[in-house]
Symmetry: C2
């Protein structure tokens, strides 16, 4: 568990896209963000107060979160100086970078000497169990996609936000690095050892109140040959009571796989539900989340209406129109 | 790659079952076995010549393979003395034990000093790629099961043996610890990091002659909630041209999951084929392998006939009746 609130480190981000982790934290957990730390040449801006390490500390920040991708997978000297200074000032540091903070000898040594924590959320720190398949109390919903990167995390975060607003009990359960940095905890599923994947999701979504919803962040797709095993482990470890289908209609092939076309929503619905009912026979598909970012307003509305009529399920773009109808569908279970 | 031939270390095995790894090597690769090394009290017997380390070395053995499970997960002092002596005599050592040889300081130090290799096949030594889904040349068959431990490895090994006997080009591709020790190479799939599972199977089954068959060892089951993700990674990484369904008819619930009933062969056929055709649209289900060890002769034959009639596919128990009809079904593709 990462201590909040955060100071967001944007480094020398060449553009806003390089700082998408920081953007996710700002968008979804603004209360966790005291300010932003930008170095010379930084082109990203989270519209948060620019602060020095000392100013943010005085404002309550306790963890410096690296919210930017590093160039070439190397932690530069300029970054390093800031990170070392942050440890000296009292901060823990959290990072989702592929190259780990703990593998930097100077950072590791200083953190050890000062008793600070380096959170490398890229890799697991827990020894997860093998899944036992036992029924757990409380309710769970999982977003499953026709492809990778179609908006599953966004859909889950929007649902969680709207359900909390409505006074329902819900918890977003992060299964990827960005989600973990947003919420401060979770399972970095893509880095878990094969035998323990489903068990890690059981661990992540334990017994809870009967009226509590775990909103589980989806990963990959049953139809993406590189990552499908991860998706099935989520379906079986998560024991979802409800599935939400996620799709991006303008994509011409599976992400990173030029020879592979996307499956239809109907096919994803049928296969996901069939496999989910192995672990939870009561599971239902309750709605559809469409990422319409590459469509104009008229095209988006027309597409949503067509999908809704075709599948007989509420179809929304939660970014464009809110997640209310999805959350109502969950509430009706 | 583990250097052959082997001296099989049976230690102080309390019974034959404890030495099932040695039995597998003896049964499937007898030419790799120079002899067996038994300690006082050993109750297992592979019907191989009992040899000292020196005798087996002179007979050509180059690797001491630990063919027995250790009690309580500890490498005893008595074992340790033999293993250290083997390193001194020139042997490499191979092991599928959960506790690793390399984590024993005395073994690790001696091996390093002498330039010997400690093969811990429990864990991967290769940095596998992310699967790219590209079509590879050559043919592949994968055994998929209604459950774990229903005879998938045995079926694959029997097929490989019979196809080679018939002059066909085939290679058994091990995906588990026992299979790796039998053949000397493979992927310990249950220990691979989630993101690289499918890629590890692509790596294991590369381009080959158009008339060559990779016989891929199956793992888990799409319907076993603890390990289903591993199975799907095999289906998508393996790009099989053919599937063989494996089943054990007397099992009353999924292995280790008392609340879970087994899926029917029809359900496993349909779901496995549907998902396999994502990676290889030409994939076919060609036969059924039934493990009839808990049935008498008459019951076994009756069951096989019933399944064959019901599914319209050759159904055999390769242990009882040979794998010929399965291999003929493959040859007909």
């Amino acid at each position: 568990m990462i201590e909040t609130p955060y100071l967001l480190f944007l480094g020398d981000a060449p553009d806003g896209l390089a700082a998408k982790v920081a953007q996710g934290i700002k968008d979804w957990r603004p209360d966790n963000c005291v300010g932003q730390f930008r170095m010379e040449g930084c082109k990203a801006d989270m519209k948060l107060p620019d602060m020095t390490l000392a100013e943010a500390w005085d404002a309550g920040a306790r963890t410096l979160v690296i919210g930017v991708a590093n160039r070439g997978g190397v932690i530069s000297k300029a970054w390093k100086a800031v990170l070392l200074e942050a440890l000296d000032q009292g901060y823990d540091i959290a990072s989702g970078l592929h190259n780990l903070l703990r593998h930097e000898p100077d950072l590791a040594e200083k953190a050890r000497g000062l008793g600070r924590t380096l959170h490398d959320v890229r890799i697991p720190v827990v020894q997860y169990p093998i899944a036992n398949g036992e029924k757990r109390t409380g309710k769970r919903v999982l977003a499953v996609g026709t492809d990778c990167s179609v908006g599953k995390m966004y859909t889950a975060l929007a649902l969680d936000r709207d359900m909390r607003k409505a006074g329902m009990k819900s918890t977003f359960r992060a299964t990827g690095q960005t989600g973990i940095l947003i919420t401060g905890e979770g399972v970095p599923l893509d880095a878990v050892i094969a035998d323990f994947m489903a068990g890690s999701i059981e661990w992540l979504t334990p017994d809870n109140d009967a009226d509590h919803w775990d909103i589980i962040e989806g990963q990959g797709s049953l139809y993406h040959v590189s990552y499908s095993g991860v998706t099935l482990a989520l379906i079986h470890g998560g024991q979802p009571d409800a599935l939400i289908l996620c799709h991006e209609p303008t994509r011409t092939h599976m992400r990173g796989l030029p020879g592979y076309t996307l499956p239809s929503l109907e096919v994803v619905r049928d296969t996901s539900l069939h496999l989910a009912q192995v672990a939870n026979p009561a599971c239902k598909v309750v709605g559809i989340s469409i990422n319409t970012q590459h469509m104009d307003d008229a095209a988006a509305v027309a597409y949503l209406e067509e999908v809704e009529a075709r599948l007989g399920l509420p179809a929304v773009d939660p970014y464009r129109h809110g997640a209310e109808r999805l959350f109502e569908a969950l509430a009706a279970i």
